[in-house]
Amino acid sequence: MSELVAAVRKDLLLHWRGRIQAVAIFAFGASALLLFSFAIGPDSLALRQYAAGFLWLGLLLASTLTLAESFEREMEEQALEGLLLLPASPTSLYYGKALANWALLALLGVALVPVMVVLYDAGTMRLLPLLGIIVLGTAGLSAPGTLYAAMTAQTRSRQTLLPLLFFPLVVPVLLAAVKATSLLILGDPMGQLRPWAMLLFLFDAIQWSLGGLLFGRVLED
């Protein structure tokens, strides 16, 4: 347990020290949301209808940058080997990194909500459920993403490989999170939010367990 706390602390500290990059990733996400609106045109009604989709697409694109960057520092000066030499299990290393990535992605998601509100006139009064969906959705991105980033960081074509491997895997997150966010923005007369949230939770449970089980094999030499 203390290993896990130490690992989380280490990764959060790394994120904090590299916060300039986090700001840059937020700027990337915000400009992505702007570009999406150009694809639809100045049709406020349509923009509001698809706002949830744009938010999560923007978040997905930004997540590849975050995830790739989370392993960049481990690759420099062979820090990864150094980590493995520590008497810490790979599992706690994985969960430490995945938790820190989750925190960053959730923060990013929350930061992009005002951008969405402004650009697409897509706000909601149900802020707590929205936060819940962002938290659940980004958890679903962080777990498999951390696992795959660990692999692709060690390959040659990492920038192409990570999205290529990662995107098909998180289709359920995209579907469920977009649907849930859409219900929050546009109204949910039939109370469909809960099942989508449950789907997200189920996906998260499976991916977080699998990731912890498999990470050790991914890092071994």
């Binding site: 060690q154 098909p168 289709v171 579907l175 649907k179 789907l199 499976i206 991916q207 498999l214 071994e220």
Partner: protein, 251 residues
């Protein structure tokens, strides 16, 4: 030469290709017979007319694509537990054949959808899941092409295969649910008894075909692996041989 238990199985002379080639030939015969039956002899279906005949090749492809990827999942698990190279070779073969069959499935589904629903793609849950699988497993093939260390390549492909396979049911249910809110359309589930024989014959045809393909493809993987794991050649032996081994590493 290093003789470990996994090496000796690879160091056997390339076994005769008679069995896989026979399987491929048998598969082709079954496909020809089943397709002839389905195209020329089976009656037209009540509502879909002759377009129904696409099912005689579409449904067998679907069964076999799933079967191949289940086999790939099994190979991935077995490799992680046993670290025996033969499972990695079979994994490579199974994923590649599985991707080809799944891609074929998407194309067939598209061709079937156009006269039936009027659109090339109707977000049918099964076909959409197949499209996601093509991307997911195709990505694993891309990963294999970019990783040079055979051990890492094998472990990582096995890990990715397990995660992707575990994801498939979730993708299916989420797409099914997502789609059900918009469409009342459903794909024909049942095929009446008159149509069973061409279906079964074609199903076995593709089964024999992909089994033969996977066996042949595994051998190619084994040969390439053998050259990658070979002991380094002394500098005096010349540069030509040293150039041959890494050249074979690309797919």
């Amino acid at each position: 030469m290093i003789h470990t238990s996994s090496n000796t199985s690879m160091m056997r002379k390339p076994v005769d290709s008679r069995i896989p080639l026979a399987l491929v030939a048998l598969g082709v015969c079954c496909l020809l017979a089943g397709s002839y039956w389905g195209l020329a002899r089976a009656p037209s279906e009540i509502f879909m007319g002759d377009v129904q005949r696409i099912m005689y090749v579409h449904v067998p492809t679907a069964w076999n694509a799933m079967l191949t990827l289940v086999f790939a999942f099994t190979c991935a698990l077995l490799f992680l537990f046993t670290n025996d190279w033969k499972w990695d070779n079979r994994l490579e073969g199974a994923i590649e054949v599985g991707v080809v069959l799944s891609l074929l499935l998407c194309i067939q589904g598209s061709i079937w959808a156009k006269p039936t629903w009027g659109v090339w793609w109707d977000w049918d849950p099964r076909l959409t899941t197949t499209a996601v699988m093509v991307c997911a497993f195709g990505g694993i093939l891309a990963l294999r092409a970019f990783v040079e260390d055979p051990m890492k390549r094998a472990v990582w492909s096995a890990v990715c295969c397990i995660v992707a396979s575990a994801d498939v049911p979730i993708v299916y249910f989420s797409v099914k649910w997502w789609n059900s809110l918009h469409q009342a359309q459903s794909s024909p589930e049942t095929v009446s008894k008159a149509f069973h024989w061409p279906l079964r014959i074609n199903a076995f045809g593709i089964l024999f075909l992909w089994t033969g393909f996977v066996m042949l493809r595994s051998r190619i993987a084994a040969l390439r692996l053998r050259s990658e794991l070979a002991p380094p050649i002394p500098a005096s032996a010349g540069t030509e041989a040293a150039g041959a081994a890494p050249a074979g590493a690309a797919l």
